[in-house]
Amino acid sequence: MSKVPGAPDRWSALKATTPARIGLPRAGQGLALSEVLAFQLAHAKARDAVHAALDVEVIARALGPDVLLASSAAPSRDTYLRRPDLGRHPDEATALALSDAAGDPVDLVIIIADGLSATAVQAHAAPLALRIADLARAACLSLAPFVIATQARVALGDHIALLLKARAVLMLIGERPGLSAVDSLGAYFTHATKPGVSTDADRNCVSNIKDGGLPLEDAASRLLWLITEARRRGASGVALKDESGLAPLLPG
């Protein structure tokens, strides 16, 4: 037995406002079997996204000629999942290659990293990286080459920034897949980054960048605001609230 609770048209207006699983058909006080199975299928897809590999060549082609590659010290997906510490450090070959590639100090390095969803990175990271780079150059910031990093965690960016003599780092990284969203991209910005010293409190995060989530253009302008404001104030993280769209204060 399965019935939609309430006339379908009352729920369809509400459902149009959110991807959340609302107004689900019930069996007794519980869920109808159709919903139980739909959930299990979504979970299966998310599990598959976690284990997918990033197609580095495709991303590199989209970014143009100025691209460097980096790998963390985690040699495999399985190790990456169990050992986040390894995902936060570059492997030896990467450390050598990046220090060779470093030029004069720059204001910013933009890193594209697989994180927990190569699917998200494949879908959204290259156009966002290119857009932010354009905005940053227009704001007279100097940029290191783009870096594509695999088996990477957020703090790997601190090491990459140091190796490339970048004063700030923006990492675009695949977020942990959910059931409705296996393609959600996160952006972590850290000003004056220092490996082993910078913590989450020093970072600003803009998350849920995806189709049906935060639009790419909005994400780019928020991030540029964070980048330029952090330069002005000399700090990122909790010291820097996102007031980019700050409306007037409460009436009264």
Binding site: T18, P84, A247
Partner: protein, 465 residues
């Protein structure tokens, strides 16, 4: 003076543990986070030997040997300086093993356990939990009673509350309202209507805060709202005269881990005072809402070689300073590097709930998992059922158990209805009466049939949009 070592001999093997924190780590049931930290027992035998040795440690030892140095950590200082020696007196002569036997005995009544809470340190609670099987953790937690109040009464015997968690990937107000209506129509929301915002943008936080407040005020819902943002943002909202009910913050069991959240005890003091000064609670002034989770200090590089479960208990030591309305462990959120699979998540959920209750906190649990952990909904069914048996204060209510903003799976509104049906659990009484008045449930608390939903949606939508 040298620290005396701990030891236990099995056959011809003498297992030696250099200090208290090493002993605690080795005695902890296996979990990936302690292995990641390199402090787990090397063998199954060493693990049980450590439990034997731990059972013989006098509780008083925990008052003289801190697992994180007093001089270097404000959480340790808080724990030691606020220890209530007279409350501790009834168990002062016991060992950790003796405490376990006393806790499961008839002498440990609800009244005795409430009186004891301020006399136990988090480390004592963690230590005894390591000697307890899952059934012990359930039995003793069930005897603990912790009641808190803001606009309703949470934690009464025979009740289970639900946090309605109406998250939306872009904080769309209509979308958040839609999920809130869905939850209310399924009888959820007595713990709080608490939204995790997608960004920390102050204008958006302000709007969310106002929309939830308007919904609660318009329909006179006996519950409280919460926008789960950083404590510094909430202080800012209060400064801008926003209608803040509860102050949220993630906390952990060491000063360094709290620093990685950008939070200090002084900031929590300030926020707690500011929220109490608003006097928005009609029944009580429990204004704080904390979330915790095993593994946080390790992930922040601030674990001092202490096992993750002991540090989690220390986070409760922080929480109880503020007489919070709600505290929940987000047990499976942190990922497989800390709790690898369903078995580890289930054990950790029961430990956290037990330790929190023993220390006098209104402990709930976000029964949850991520898609990179080896767990699924059957594991969540097991944990929520065990926690309901243990008298958990509240669980989460997420539409269809799928959080579309935080990208993890928690418990659904329907899951709470399942627990109510199996265990006969009621809601916070004021909220239950409201649901009956609205026609959302019958007198017995069962949800109205689908045929009456359209009229209820119209009624609630009036103010939510």
């Amino acid at each position: 003076m040298m620290t005396a070592m701990f030891h236990h001999t099995v056959g011809r093997t003498r297992h030696v543990f250099a200090d208290l924190k090493t002993l605690l780590a080795r005695a902890t049931p296996p979990r990936s986070g302690d292995m990641l930290a390199g402090i787990a027992a090397a063998s199954a035998e060493e693990h049980v030997a450590a439990k034997h040795a731990l059972a013989n440690v006098p509780l008083s030892r925990f008052l003289s040997e801190a697992v994180v140095p007093y001089e270097r950590d404000d959480v340790t200082r808080l724990i030691i300086d606020s220890h209530d020696a007279s409350a501790f007196a009834p168990v002062a002569s016991l060992t950790v093993g003796g405490l376990r036997d006393w806790l499961v005995s008839g002498e440990a009544t609800t009244t005795a356990l409430s009186a004891l809470a301020p006399g136990l340190t988090p480390e004592m609670a963690a230590a005894v939990s390591k000697l307890m099987r899952n059934q012990d953790l359930i039995l003793v937690a069930r005897k603990c009673s912790v009641v808190t109040r803001f606009r309703n009464t949470i934690g009464l015997p025979g009740t289970l509350a639900v946090r309605l968690q109406p998250n939306h990937p872009t904080d769309d107000l209509a979308g958040i309202a839609a999920s809130t209506i869905d939850g209310l129509l399924l009888g959820a929301g007595d713990a709080t209507i608490g939204v995790n915002p997608a960004t920390d943008s102050l204008p958006q936080l302000l709007q969310l805060n106002q929309v939830l407040n308007e919904l609660i005020q318009t329909h006179q819902i006996p519950t409280q709202s919460c926008v789960l943002t950083h404590v510094s943002s909430t202080i800012e909202l209060i400064n801008r005269s926003a209608p803040v009910d509860l102050v949220f913050q993630s906390i952990a069991g060491t000063e360094g881990a709290n620093a990685s959240f950008g939070v200090t005890l002084a900031m929590l003091d300030e926020a707690c005072d500011a929220a109490r000064a608003l006097r928005r609670g009609t029944l009580g002034d429990n204004v704080m809402y904390f979330e915790t989770g095993q593994g946080t200090p390790l992930s922040a590089g601030a674990h001092h070689g202490v096992d993750q479960q002991t540090l989690e208990a220390r986070a409760y030591g922080v929480a109880r300073r503020y007489r919070p309305l709600l505290v929940n462990t987000v047990v499976g959120f942190i990922g497989p590097e800390y709790l690898y699979d369903g078995k580890q998540i289930i054990r950790a959920g029961l430990e956290d709930h037990f330790c929190g209750k023993l220390l006098g906190l209104p402990l709930g649990c976000d029964v949850c998992y991520t898609n990179h952990a080896e767990a699924d909904q059957d594991d969540m069914d097991t944990l929520m059922t065990l926690l309901a048996a243990a008298g958990v204060t509240y669980i989460m209510g997420v539409p269809g158990a799928d959080d579309v903003m935080l990208n993890y799976q928690s418990t659904s509104f329907h899951d709470a209805l399942y627990l109510r049906e199996v265990f006969g659990l009621k809601r916070a009484p004021e909220f239950a009466s409201w649901l009956i008045r609205m026609g959302i449930t019958g007198e017995g608390g069962r949800i109205a049939p689908p045929s009456v939903m359209p009229a209820l949606i119209t009624r609630l939508e009036g103010a939510a949009s």
